[in-house]
């Protein structure tokens, strides 16, 4: 598969190391359709290609939105892109968040750091059909208040009467008036039916593991929890062998897994 070159419509710096690109497709073509949780391989011409989850609304077809954290040469090149610059897109790849499994159930979304970006599309889907779901809770943890992603949007979500939003940081200065503590400490703040809720978690692997344990302590079953995993990817179509996690290829069997199915492998060090 070869990349299709989209064009940068808009760029926005979200936090000190994270930015969002708004992309339009080549003239005369439609924006690719994706499901929440899927990713594209984004190609910075001549530099390289990396897997990035789509962070926009799957129901919105005018442009393609990716939120990217600058961590290396390729993402550095992407941060330098300006309006009108080309960016190669291959995809969408991977499976998606099981949002429909949340019908008539409470839905709990737990995000850590940049993990809020791959989860945002599922929240958009839920809000588009809010009446189909029970209570909807968003728990978000990050390092400091300056690292809060999509802050304005979080505030507007919190203003919804039928959405419960709790944000916490690992540490803060005096000007922060919100919660300080690990993301696990805000789980008790949320009201949801632990025996039947659908839980979707995305963030650093350690954060996902300890969040799962904390949820278990609150009576949530491992078959109610979905996590999004990440591995090195080159081909994104199951040929190159890079993204293996035990017997699974994260690019096509994942990146989203029901926790009880991945647990034996997920908890082995350096697997």
């Amino acid at each position: 598969m070869t990349p299709v070159f989209y064009r940068v419509l808009r760029t926005r710096q979200e936090t000190r190391d994270t930015f969002t690109l708004d992309l339009e497709p080549p003239a005369g073509t439609e924006v690719l359709r994706f499901s929440p949780g899927q990713f594209n391989m984004l190609y910075a011409f001549g530099v390289g290609e990396v897997p990035i989850s789509v962070s926009g609304d799957p129901g919105r077809t005018r442009s393609l939105i990716h939120t990217i954290r600058e961590v290396g040469a390729v993402t550095h090149a992407m941060r330098k892109l300006k309006r009108g610059d080309p960016l190669g897109v291959r995809g969408p790849f991977g499976n998606s968040w099981p949002v429909e499994e949340g019908f008539d159930r409470d839905v709990v979304i737990v995000a850590g750091g940049i993990g809020l970006a791959p989860l945002r599309p599922s929240l958009y889907s839920i809000l588009t059909h809010r009446e189909k779901y029970g209570r909807v809770v968003l728990l978000y943890g990050t390092r400091t208040p300056d690292d809060i992603l999509f802050r304005k949007e979080l505030e507007s979500w919190r203003a919804h009467l039928d959405l419960s939003v709790h944000v916490t940081v690992d540490r803060a200065m005096a000007s922060w008036r919100g919660s300080v503590g690990a993301v696990t400490s805000i789980i008790p703040r949320a009201r949801f039916d632990s025996s039947s809720a659908l839980v979707m978690i995305c963030g650093p692997e350690a954060m996902m593991r300890f969040t799962v344990l904390e949820l278990q302590n609150h009576g949530v079953g491992l078959d109610q929890i979905y996590v999004s995993t990440e591995r090195n990817m080159k081909c994104a179509i199951g040929f190159c062998g890079h993204c293996q996690l035990g017997p699974t290829f994260v690019c096509k069997d994942g990146p989203i897994f029901r926790y009880d199915r991945i647990q034996p492998f997920f908890e082995i060090r350096e697997i």
Partner: protein, 388 residues
Amino acid sequence: MTGQFSEQQRILESGHLQKLIEALSNSGHRIIGPTVRDGAIVYGDLNSADDLPSGWTDEQDGGTYHLKKRNDKALFGFNQGPDSWKKFLFPPRTRLWQADLKGKTPEITNEPATEQKMAFIGVRSCDLHAIDVQDRVFIQPAIANPSYQVRRQGAFIVAVNCGQAGGTCFCTSMNTGPRASKGYDLALTEIIEGERHYFLVQVGTERGLEMIEKVPTRSAGATELEKAKAVVARAAGQMGRQMDTTGIKDLLYRNYRNPRWENVASRCLTCANCTMVCPTCFCSTVEDVTNLKGDHAERWQRWDSCFTMDLSYIHGGSVRTSTKARYRQWMTHKLATWIDQFGTSGCVGCGRCITWCPVAIDITEEVRAIRESEERIEETTEGHHGNT
């Protein structure tokens, strides 16, 4: 494939093998087969049957390989060398596409499919299975690797049944040989008795039949069929290694934390030889390169190995940094997770990884050690029960 052609068994005199090669060459095939080079028998282009390793054999063991002269003129009297047919079906370096920056928009030029079709001479049964294993990787129901598919469909396969087994062979343990049973166009069994030197030819496909009919052969007699069977039986009885594959998938799934991994890690150099010589290893990586002006870019694919730190690198570091984790990944993938991914084992018992490991790590011994470590734990538990 063989069923309908099982009546088609011919005898080809060794001197006429050249005619088969010519027939293949005249129909546009690039002829590839074993040849002696740099002290080993490797697969390369053949100009004629004279390029075959006539009268050569090899002696192999853990970390050991050298050629030895035979006392006959057998053309295929040796076992596996350091390379396999994956070198041709899944080349070590290929360009995927090129792109040029025209104004602000890059334009991609795909690679044209201009490769010549190939004829493989002397494919051993283990390698036939290895090709099938790689078919399952690259020709999948959902999405297939198009260039692999083209090369694969064009490849004419002349298999060879082994007449002897090597010091590191264990195809019988993996049910992959020594007799070629499927996946070939023609299969040869070399028989030498005194002055007589001929091949029993088994036809595998329609196009195999068409090709052999261009070459002088006569039909095989009962004694010749018996002799061919004896040749293969001799090889089956000489296996240098053995692997018990009973419940091997679950055995390895249970033992991710076995201390044996530390033991093998203390020996393993992570040199990646095993992955390069293995006929089923398929890890590859992609390199994006540009010219100095930055207006021309190319994407190249090349072989990779799970023994590199780079393979599992994600921002912040590699997932598998320790040697232990990387060796464990290779072995558990080859023997266990491969089964869940592709429906067969990834190992065909060719023994190359044992021969070409500089420190002679032996995959059959590692499996044995893990199995035995479980038996020791059972014994210990029983012992305690006895004492209380």
